[in-house]
């Protein structure tokens, strides 16, 4: 309990540092939102007026504290480009990204764990080599390449699945799933490869341990030997990899979302950066950091579940 309070308290300095860095980075990067909003034909006075109305003429320190003050009141500010509240913009985009992240990781886990476990058990046989080869291939192929290849095959040629877009679960389960299959597969392959490699390596270490020999001497059957005796010991690195994967996915799967035109956080990030929409970018980075920290906390708590020696 004390650990939990301590960890949650530790979130505050992390977010403060993130806020400063993202604020400065944006202000230091080239490009001026006022110029983009005003358009090509605007005069210097027009741009100056827009800049003043956005508060961008204020000194940096003033702008920063203004933003922080608003944040402390739960106000993420207003999008420079669309005029909509930042928090609302983000919330609109959360659903597709959440689903995409969750299903992508689920896909990776379902395929990677059995592959990794089997490869470790059959180490140095053709099973192991096949898994390794598949992992290297999946890991090396860029997401957009896999994505376009899948779209060409399953959508354009066969016409089985939609080319792109996203349908909310509220619009029915079937269209929802049909739209997500290709993005999940193309985005998930790389995580499948990563996780399979990680699982194989850790399981291989564990299978060489004395207590596995003991379990074999006890006559324990293979499924229980692998899943209960070995996998539980290998769980900590595997859970870490899964957790980091989810965190990365939540931060926005920019390429996947772009290829399949899914209106998620990743797309919002790309669009906002192109428009120099400072408040939106700042908001996304903050929310994503918060998700990162939260997931790390969950991972730490899971460690204790798998390994009784870890206690906080």
């Amino acid at each position: 309990m004390y650990f939990l309070i301590k960890r949650i308290a530790a979130v505050i300095p992390v977010l403060a540092v993130v806020a400063v860095i993202v604020f400065l980075l944006l202000r230091l990067s080239p490009g001026d939102p006022a110029v983009i909003i005003a358009g090509d034909s605007a005069s210097a006075q027009d741009i100056e007026a827009i800049r003043r109305s956005l508060g961008l003429d204020q000194p940096l320190l003033g702008q920063f504290f203004e933003w922080i003050w608003q944040l402390l009141h739960g106000d993420f500010g207003v999008s420079i480009f669309t005029g909509m509240p930042v928090l609302k913009l983000i919330m609109q985009r959360v659903e597709p990204t959440l689903w995409l992240a969750a299903l992508t990781m689920a896909f990776a886990i379902v395929f990677a764990l059995p592959m990794g476990i089997w490869a470790a058990w059959k180490a140095d046989t053709w099973v192991d080599r096949l898994v390794t080869a598949l992992s290297v291939i999946a890991f090396s192929l860029p997401v957009f390449l896999i994505g376009y290849a899948l779209v060409y095959g399953f959508s354009t040629r066969l016409g089985w699945l939609p080319v792109q877009g996203f349908k909310s679960l509220a619009d029915g389960a079937l269209p929802f799933i049909r739209h997500l299959i290709l993005p999940v597969v193309s985005g998930g392959l790389i995580y499948t490869a990563l996780l399979a490699r990680m699982t194989r390596a850790t399981m291989l270490d564990v299978l060489g341990e004395d207590y596995i020999r003991t379990a074999r001497a006890k006559g324990i059957l293979l499924p229980r030997l692998l899943l209960r005796h070995a996998l539980k010991n290998a769980a900590v690195p595997i859970v870490t990899t899964i957790g980091l994967g989810i965190a990365m996915l939540l931060g926005g799967v920019m390429v996947t979302e772009s290829v399949f035109a899914i209106p998620g956080i990743g797309r919002l990030t790309v669009d906002s950066i192109l428009r120099r929409d400072y408040p939106v970018i700042q908001g996304i980075v903050l929310v994503t950091s918060l998700a990162y920290v939260a997931i790390n906390l969950v991972i730490d708590l899971l460690y204790g579940l798998f390994d009784p020696r870890i206690r906080y």
């Binding site: 140095d124 003991t214 006559g219 324990i220 539980k232 009784p308």
Partner: protein, 335 residues
């Protein structure tokens, strides 16, 4: 005497590696009778643990390339048994405890689960009954407060208690044979004595026959009925324990005994360096020519280096005391 409970006959075993083939066992034979405690003694690398692992077929297929001979348990040759049959035997009819109790129990499962799972697997006990039995077993191996301890994890146990827990796991299904591979080596001396006492008591109470693998002759002297001495993958001497300590016949056995500190010399007497066996355990690559011990043996003659000595009784009077040596055994008989 009827057929032995466990009988290893002419066991040969080899491992392949990049450097070549290692002949880990060259024609090892011994037998274990019901209720007996047999000691297998030898220094590191002599093949005693490999023999134990081979009995339960726990050696992984690669790098084990060659295995021949027979391992008969109640007449059934385990070298020809199916994996399913072996899984029935392991932990049930023949069980095993290992050297290092710190690494031989699973750190992420409770002690209770590690005992209960064998009962549920082999004796088909229900979960509740298996856990109740686990508590009884912890009590049997003298673990205090077993009701609470059964729910604890190995890291909450001391080394001696973990080895007791290992014994509880091994004895859970009342096996006919317990193979104890250096069960006291990783423990300190007082705990060693307690563990040996426990094994001896359990043997008398349950009738489980024990194969005790060790390099500690002191442990053997106290508890074993018979002793097999191994050197470089082969059996060099075998005798009843008293007989072996009274009349060690093979120069290697004598060397081992001489290398032990003696408690019966008075403290006033100057105590020099303990005698040691010169040289190193030979590499087991390549075929044996002559006696494996010859390079380190003070008594070796030309014949020792060219011909493998037969394993024979040291004299006509006692056919159970046998050794493989040209000098001390065969010459004695010839005279």
């Amino acid at each position: 005497m009827s057929t032995p409970l466990l009988e290893v006959t002419d066991l040969h075993l080899a491992f392949a590696s990049r450097e070549g083939v290692t002949r880990a066992l060259e024609g090892v034979s011994w037998q274990l009778n019901a209720g007996e405690m047999l000691g297998i003694v030898g220094e590191s690398g002599c093949g005693k643990s490999v023999t134990a692992m081979a009995v339960l077929r726990l050696l992984p297929a690669p790098p084990t390339t060659h295995i021949s001979g027979a391992i008969r348990f109640r007449g059934e040759n385990l070298l020809q048994a199916s994996e399913a049959r072996l899984q029935e035997i392991r932990g049930n009819e023949i069980s095993m405890i290992f050297q290092d109790p710190m690494t031989s129990v699973n750190p992420v499962l409770t002690i209770g689960e590690q005992i209960a799972e064998v009962l549920m697997l082999h004796q088909k006990l229900a979960r509740r009954a298996a856990w109740a039995r686990a508590v009884e077993l912890l009590d049997l191996v003298n673990i205090p407060d077993p009701q609470r301890r059964v729910h604890e994890y190995p890291h909450q146990f001391s080394g001696g208690m973990r080895q007791r827990a290992m014994i509880a796991i091994a004895l859970a299904c009342k096996p006919d044979v317990l193979i104890a591979d250096e069960p006291t080596t990783a423990l300190d001396v007082t705990i060693q004595a307690q563990i040996m006492e426990l094994l001896d008591r359990l043997r008398r109470e349950t009738g489980t026959a024990i194969v005790l693998i060790t390099h500690d002759l002191g442990v053997v002297a106290e508890s074993c009925d018979r002793v097999v001495v191994m050197y470089a993958g082969a059996k060099v001497e075998e005798a009843a324990t008293n007989e072996l300590f009274a009349r060690p016949s093979h120069p290697y056995t004598r060397g081992l005994l001489d290398a032990m500190p003696r408690l019966d010399t008075p403290l006033t007497e100057p105590r020099g360096r303990l005698p040691e066996i010169p040289g190193m355990v030979p590499s087991l690559r390549g075929a044996a020519v002559g006696c494996r011990f010859a390079p380190r043996c003070a008594l070796a003659i030309d014949r020792c280096r060219s011909e493998v000595p037969p394993f024979a009784p040291i004299d006509g009077a006692n056919p159970t005391h046998r050794a493989a040596c040209w000098r001390t055994v065969c010459e004695a008989i010839a005279e």
